[in-house]
Structure formats: structure tokens, C-alpha cells
């Protein structure tokens, strides 16, 4: 599903070069639930943005669904983001003052679905994340957990190949965080491929595979372990 080969990202700021990713390679197969961990500055966010086609790598190759994403134009990337990727952000990123329903319908509007179809699907997905009675609430009337559930519904509407979550519980209280992670687990059981960034071992525990990054390189890659979270021991340089 995802194939990353020798991916590097170098940020140039004036004359200072910062290497965020250093020749990273790995694969994700359909149906996996992968957590990417690492301390801040390890390059995990950069990796996520490249996988999410929000950013482009400096060098290396990235295949999503057998398409070489690293070679595409801006508008082609927009289409990939729309049709193949579902995003869940740490800060929810809902349009303010717009209802939950309209927020969920937005990607489908960009995807060219007809209005009745959009309405039907948006209601379906909002029901699925347990917000059937909140569809007409605007985002600022919803709690953090509810906003994140709207964001998950929005990510699912175009039936994406992968679901990307960037610290999805970072802005939430722990009870709400568990609710959100339960939804991700259920989605994974339904067959969705999920890639999630987190720095919390508790949250990484929900994943079936954990890649740990440090200084832009893969430090460890552990699959199917029952206690994968335990393998993550923060190291202080």
C-alpha cells in the first residue's frame, strides 16, 4: 500500500541545512495499523506530511497504491489527497462556524460527488462516529472529542486507501483520547489502513506495529508485539 525508499528531507533556512529525514525506507501493507513514534525533532511529523502528500521529499521515492507520489504536480497531489488519503489532525482543523455536516461534506464537494450523495454519506459517517444528533452543531459548539470525531468522519468520506492521524489525541483529555482510539481500532478491524503519529506509548499501544524514529532515521520497527509500547523507552541524549 505504502512503499517508501530512501526518503530524505532537508530544510534549508538561509545557509543552515537541517536534515529532517535521512534515507528512510519501509513498507506498509493493506490493513495495517502503524504507529510512528519518536521524540520531537525526530522527523516523524515530516515523514507524516510526506506520506500525506502535504509536503514533498528532497530525495527518494514514495509509492502510494503503486503511484510514485514524489513525481506529481501540485494539482495531481490535491487529487491524491482527496481520493486516497484521509487526514486527522492534532488540532482537528475543522472550518470554524460551519456545521459538522458541512465540514464532513467538504472533501466530497472537492471530489465532485453530487449533493444528495454527499448529504447521504456525510450523515452515514457522522452516525458511525456517534454524532447523529450533532450534525447541525457548528464546530465551536462541539467538545474537543466531538470535533475530532467529526474530523474522522470527514477523513472517511472519500473512502481513502489510508487514514493518516497526526497526534490525533494530542489536544484531548485522556477519556476522550480512549474514545478516539477505540474508533481507530474499530476502523482498523473493518479493514482500514491506518498510519498514526504519537509520542505517547499508551496511544501507540493501540497500533499493531510501531516504527520509532530518531534523528531522521528508523531506530526500531516492531510488529505484532503484545507489548509494543513497552519497547519504546525515551532516550535522552
Amino acid at each position: 500500500m505504502i512503499k517508501v525508499e530512501n526518503l530524505s528531507k532537508i530544510y534549508k533556512n538561509d545557509s543552515v541545512e537541517t536534515v529532517a529525514l535521512h534515507s528512510v525506507s519501509f513498507e506498509v501493507t493493506a490493513g495495517e495499523f502503524l504507529a510512528i513514534m519518536g521524540p520531537s525533532g525526530s522527523g516523524k511529523s515530516t515523514l507524516m506530511h510526506i506520506i500525506g502528500a502535504l509536503d514533498t521529499p528532497t530525495s527518494g521515492k514514495y509509492f502510494l497504491d503503486n503511484i510514485d507520489i514524489s513525481k506529481l504536480e501540485d494539482d495531481q497531489l490535491a487529487e491524491i489527497r482527496n481520493k486516497k488519503i484521509g487526514f486527522v489532525f492534532q488540532a482537528f482543523n475543522l472550518l470554524p462556524r460551519v456545521t459538522a455536516l458541512q465540514n464532513v461534506m467538504l472533501p466530497m464537494a472537492y471530489g465532485g460527488l453530487t449533493k444528495p450523495k454527499r448529504l447521504k454519506k456525510a450523515k452515514e459517517f457522522l452516525e458511525m462516529v456517534g454524532l447523529k444528533d450533532r450534525i447541525d452543531y457548528s464546530s465551536n459548539q462541539l467538545s474537543g472529542g466531538q470535533q475530532q470525531r467529526v474530523a474522522i468522519a470527514r477523513a472517511l468520506t472519500m473512502n481513502p486507501k489510508i487514514l493518516l492521524a497526526d497526534e490525533p489525541t494530542g489536544n484531548l483529555a485522556s477519556s476522550q483520547a480512549v474514545e478516539i482510539m477505540d474508533i481507530f481500532s474499530k476502523l482498523n478491524n473493518l479493514g482500514h489502513t491506518i498510519v498514526m503519529i504519537t509520542h505517547e506509548p499508551d496511544i501507540a499501544h493501540f497500533a499493531k506495529r510501531v516504527i520509532t524514529l530518531r534523528d531522521g532515521k528508523i531506530e526500531s520497527d516492531i510488529k505484532n508485539g503484545q507489548n509494543i509500547a513497552a519497547s519504546y523507552v525515551p532516550k535522552i541524549k
Binding site: 501540485d74 489527497r81 482543523n93 467538504l106 472533501p107 464537494a109 472537492y110 449533493k115
Partner: protein, 407 residues
């Protein structure tokens, strides 16, 4: 997304953010409204000046005695006694003078006028019937001086409305009553229509009496203080001036125009002065318009830059969800077009309305030019759309993650 749907989405966004929409519209309303109002006020003052000059009489040539430069000694203009009633009659009678329609010989001087216990010091004008035509004097009640009054040296008077007020009180009708001018008794036969006192002189504070009576009975003079002549048309004023000038030179036995013991000035001279005044006005107006356009334009630019730049994160999000560059730019173009169109229309209405109210209260003629409206809307609208589009297009060209991170 289809275009019609983008329009709906844009209207929805504008309606949801009432404060932002209101502020942006207000900026455009003020920008466009102030340009239209200022230019319109300027044009109204310009028109007022032109109208006042026109009201003095059209195609007018005025001849006054006393050369502007007399041999060695310069006397005050008009103090000379070189113009006579016969000169005026000769101008009327001459076959060489073809471009003149009316000739009005005049003797004007100040004198004391009394009626009952009231008295006033006012301008007494000895006039012929032609005066009312040349100077566009209209009669409100009664009649103007007739040829018969002139021939018979009748002691009759036609009063300006200001004189009536001064001598008989507000809105009285003293026709048929007697009054005294310099001790002589006169019968009032007419009252003129008010011309307003804003010209070069107050045309309402005048008493008209027959020219012959003025010369022989009141002032005991044989000369004229001026001859006013109406030329056939604006285009023949110069020709008329030449014809009259040569006639008067030969009548006064003078060889060259340098020696002339009279001077002539025409409506053309006044119009030339006026056009240099209006030229200054036009420059002033252009300055005001340019400044208000710049001020309005900067206001619009700022509000659009701020409101659109503030939405960089939103643009990043929309891109992350699959919006293409074109879709985003189209949406923001539609939004800023709706804003500038609404603001432009409101600004136009407010600008026209406010200039109408102001001109109404300071009694200027209300003028509005399509040019100033067009310019205001074109420039301000252009700036509004440009600065709605520019930051949006800049944000749409960012990597979505950069736009999302924008603070």
C-alpha cells in the same frame, strides 16, 4: 466543484463571517463613496461659478469710458466723460455693425432714495428698454422702462427687490406709490425678479430710471458710465468688438486703438478668467479625487489583505482536503467580487446621496458625473479584487503544510 456551487459556498462563507464581511464592505463603501461625494461637490462648485458668470448676461460686451493708459497721466477708469448717448445711438444706427443685437447705454451712480420715513443709499441706473434684455432683468410686477418714458423724461422707477424691502418692508407691493430719489419725486412702475446677491455686485439692490431722466433731471450729466452690448453669438463677440471699436474711434476722431478713450471688455474676457478659475478647480478636483482614490484604495487593500491572509490556514486545510489551486483562487475571487460589487453599489448610493444632501444645504447645483463614478468603482473595485486575489493565490501556491502551519 462546479462554478454555481462555488458561488453558493462563497456566499455562505461571507454570510457566516458577518463581522469580517461587514468590515471589508465598509472599507469599500467609504473608499468609493468618498471619491464620488468629493468629486461631485467639486463639480458642483465649478458649475456654480460658471452659472454666476452666465447670469451676468450672455455674449455681453461692456464699453466704459476712460482709456486704461492715457497719455502720461492715468485717470481712474470710468472717470472720463468720453461716452455719450449719441455714441450708443450711432452703434444702433450704423450699417457697418452687423454682429450686435442689443445696445444698452447706462448711467449708474449712487444716490439717496427715500419713501416715507425710510431711506437707503443705493445704485441708481439710468437705463433704456434694452437694459432688461441685455442684462436678463425680469419683471416680477408692473413694467420696465419704456421708450415713451425715455422720450418724455418721465420720473418713473423700477425697483430691485432689496430696495423694496429696504424702503417698504418685506414682501410689500409699492407699485403706483411715490418715492424720492435725490429729492426728486418718482412713481414706482415695476419690481424686478430677484437675481440673488452673489454675483459681482448685488443685482437686487438697484433702482432703474429712464436714462434721459437720469442724465438731465437727477445727475445733470451728459455722458454715460457704460454701454452694454449683446453680440449675436458667442462666436462673433470678437468681430462685434472690432466693429464697435472702429466706429467709436472714428466718432471720437482718433487714429489708432492705442489712443482709445474708452475700453471694452467682453464676456469672453470674463469667460477666459473663469476658465482659468475652473482650470484651477479642475486641478484641485483631480487632486482631491486622486487622494481619495489612494486613501480609499489603501483602505480596501488593507482590509482585503488582512481578511484573506488571516485565512491562510483555511486555504491550507482546503488544499489538504483535496481542493485544487484553481478552485481556491476562484472561490476567493468570487468572494472579493461579491464584496466589492456590494460595497461599490452601496458606496455609489451613499456618495450620490451625501453629495445631494450637502449641495442641497449649501445651495449649490447638484451635479454627478458618470466619469467619476466609473473611475471610483473601476479603481476601488480593481484594488478590492486584486488584493482579494493576490494573498489567496499566494496561499494557494504554498505547500498545504506550510499554509496549515501559518500563524
Amino acid at each position: 466543484m462546479e462554478f454555481s456551487e462555488l458561488i453558493k459556498e462563497s456566499i455562505g462563507t461571507l454570510a457566516l463571517n458577518k463581522m469580517r464581511t461587514g468590515l471589508a464592505t465598509l472599507g469599500i463603501v467609504i473608499g468609493i463613496g468618498s471619491v464620488i461625494a468629493l468629486v461631485s461637490l467639486g463639480q458642483a462648485s465649478q458649475r456654480a461659478v460658471q452659472d454666476q458668470i452666465q447670469s451676468l448676461g450672455s455674449n455681453l460686451i461692456t464699453i466704459t469710458p476712460g482709456a486704461q493708459t492715457s497719455q502720461g497721466v492715468k485717470q481712474a477708469a470710468g472717470s472720463n466723460t468720453s461716452l455719450t448717448y449719441d455714441d450708443a445711438k450711432a452703434i444702433i444706427a450704423s450699417a457697418d455693425i452687423t454682429e450686435v443685437t442689443n445696445v444698452s447705454p447706462e448711467l449708474a451712480s449712487r444716490a439717496q432714495a427715500t419713501a416715507g420715513r425710510n431711506n437707503t443709499n443705493t445704485q441708481i441706473v439710468g437705463a433704456t428698454p434694452a437694459y432688461s434684455v441685455v442684462h436678463k432683468v425680469d419683471i416680477a410686477w408692473g413694467v420696465f422702462i419704456s421708450q415713451r418714458d425715455l422720450d418724455a423724461l418721465d420720473k418713473v422707477a423700477v425697483l430691485g427687490p432689496q430696495v423694496v424691502t429696504d424702503l417698504f418692508g418685506e414682501s410689500s407691493n409699492p407699485i403706483g406709490q411715490d418715492m424720492r430719489i435725490s429729492g426728486q419725486s418718482f412713481r414706482i412702475i415695476g419690481i424686478t425678479v430677484s437675481k440673488g446677491g452673489t454675483g459681482f455686485q448685488n443685482q437686487d439692490d438697484i433702482i432703474y430710471i429712464p436714462l434721459t431722466t437720469a442724465q438731465k433731471v437727477v445727475f445733470g450729466e451728459n455722458y454715460l458710465s457704460s454701454i452694454s452690448i449683446e453680440a449675436k453669438s458667442e462666436n462673433t463677440i470678437t468681430q462685434a468688438e472690432n466693429q464697435i471699436g472702429y466706429l467709436l474711434l472714428s466718432r471720437h476722431h482718433l487714429n489708432s486703438p492705442d489712443q482709445a478713450d474708452f475700453s471694452m471688455f467682453s464676456q469672453n474676457d470674463i469667460l477666459n478668467t473663469a476658465s482659468s478659475i475652473t482650470g484651477t478647480f479642475t486641478a484641485l478636483l483631480s487632486g482631491i479625487a486622486a487622494i481619495s482614490l489612494i486613501v480609499g484604495g489603501i483602505g480596501i487593500m488593507n482590509i482585503m489583505l488582512v481578511t484573506v491572509t488571516e485565512r491562510t490556514r483555511e486555504i491550507g486545510l482546503r488544499k489538504a482536503l483535496g481542493a485544487k489551486k484553481k478552485t481556491i483562487i476562484t472561490q476567493f475571487l468570487i468572494e472579493s467580487t461579491i464584496l466589492t460589487a456590494t460595497g461599490g453599489f452601496l458606496g455609489m448610493v451613499i456618495g450620490i446621496l451625501s453629495s445631494w444632501i450637502i449641495t442641497h444645504f449649501i445651495s449649490l447645483p447638484f451635479t454627478i458625473s458618470a466619469g467619476s463614478i466609473g473611475l471610483a468603482i473601476l479603481v476601488s473595485g480593481g484594488i478590492g479584487i486584486l488584493f482579494g486575489w493576490y494573498p489567496a493565490s499566494k496561499a494557494a501556491n504554498l505547500q498545504p503544510i506550510e499554509a496549515l502551519r501559518y500563524e
